[in-house]
């Protein structure tokens, strides 16, 4: 699902509400037919949230950051090395995240997403700070995720060219 809207139209707020970070005045978010507030841990075990801020510790290296993540979420069968290579960050493994550019930090955040074994991706403006190659890679990864039966809610303020069937909601 693609959320489209101008700056300030409420895309991020809606996604934060889906992730359970924002309480709703009215209405309910359901996951598997059950309200998410009644099964928060199970629901959070099925999603990754890619926010504006990377959520990475600047003083730790890429590997240290991802190791921490491993203790929190179920991990996929992907080889970390393979994921790093695919995202073009294998050379940066030993560097503290503070030395990485904004685009490279974005790629690390994607690595965290790929290494988690979850079905729902919540991507808030995933193309920010990415170069053309990075944009194409994100689209490719999203298509693969959808093809393997996953779900994705993505917000963007421009068109996204994804081949799979997507539902666009304009805010």
């Amino acid at each position: 699902m693609l959320l489209r809207g101008q700056n300030g139209s409420g895309k991020t707020s809606l996604m934060r509400a889906i992730a359970g970070l924002l309480s709703l005045e009215s209405g309910e978010i359901l996951w598997g037919g059950e309200p998410v507030l009644q099964q928060r841990q199970l629901f959070h075990g099925s999603l990754v949230w890619l926010a504006h801020s990377s959520g990475l510790k600047a003083d730790l290296t890429l590997v240290e950051n991802l190791e921490f993540e491993r203790a929190l979420r179920p991990q996929s069968a992907h080889e970390p090395e393979h994921v790093f290579e695919r995202l073009g960050i294998e050379r940066l493994k030993g560097l503290p995240v503070r030395f990485l550019s904004a685009g490279q930090q974005r790629r690390v955040a994607f690595a965290r997403m790929l290494l988690a074994d979850v079905s729902l991706w919540l991507l808030d403006e995933p193309f920010t700070n990415l170069d053309q190659d990075g944009r194409e890679l994100v689209i490719e990864l999203t298509e693969e995720h959808l093809a393997s039966g996953g779900l994705c809610v993505m917000s963007a303020h421009q068109d996204v060219d994804i081949a799979a069937t997507i539902k666009t909601v304009s805010l």
Partner: protein
């Protein structure tokens, strides 16, 4: 996609990972750990200089000064408990993690105590010596400080969670925490004074222990709820 329930990492793994990460961060940025410790050491060493070297006077004010300085040093370090996580977005990642939030919060509080409480307790005998405190009283002081800093870290985490989204929340944090911290200060300082006067002091230690156990069982839930509210 596979069924997630079976592969969820263990709760203990989450707790240990948070403690490990925060200790690693403290190791890489030692300034955050050392600042409150320097503050504690400075206040405690300046008092004898200002009051004068009279042994009776120093022995009389010693327990109070050490305890007040420890309380203020802990308050000083509490502000940063959730701040950096809030700023870099990793707090949000903890909030959407499948691990129970109170457990993760407890992990952060344990790491905070290891980085702020334990160093205070370890340097306190050196500082107590400047107040002519006898060795057996120093032992009592270290024990009360150990229990007291546990209480302060746990109570403080609630305040830190409530003020994390606020700009310049330090003053508000102190206002929130001080009323809850008063019993800890009174019990701690008075227990050490009683020990110095050769009177029975064990009641104070039991009371501090009870306070620590109550804080340990309740504060992670309060802190987790406060974090959810202030992160909305």
């Amino acid at each position: 996609m596979s069924d997630n329930e079976a592969q969820q990492p263990a709760i203990l793994a989450g707790l240990i990972a948070v403690i490990r990460r925060d200790l690693l961060l403290a190791w890489k940025r030692p300034g955050d750990v050392l600042n409150p410790l320097f503050f504690f050491a400075m206040v405690c060493t300046l008092f004898p200089l200002a009051v004068g070297p009279g042994a009776t006077q120093l022995m009389f004010i010693g327990p109070g000064v050490l305890w007040v300085a420890a309380l203020l040093a802990t308050l000083l370090s509490l502000n940063s408990l959730f701040m950096s996580d809030y700023e870099d977005g990793s707090l949000e990642q903890l909030l959407v993690s499948p691990q129970p939030l109170p457990v993760l919060v407890l992990g952060k509080t344990i790491a905070h105590w290891l980085c702020s409480g334990v160093p205070l307790v370890l340097v306190s005998p050196l500082l107590a010596a400047t107040y002519r405190m006898p060795t057996d009283v120093i032992g009592v002081m270290m024990l009360t400080l150990t229990l007291g800093t546990v209480c302060l870290s746990l109570l403080g985490s609630i305040g830190a969670a409530l003020t994390v989204g606020l700009n310049r929340g330090t003053a508000l944090l102190s206002l929130l925490i001080l009323p809850l911290a008063m019993p800890v200060l009174l019990l701690g300082a008075n227990t050490v004074s009683l020990a110095a006067d050769n009177e029975m002091y064990s009641t104070g230690i039991w009371a501090l222990g009870a306070y620590a156990v109550a804080a340990l069982s309740l504060s992670p839930y309060a802190t987790a709820a406060a974090l959810r509210i202030s992160n909305e």
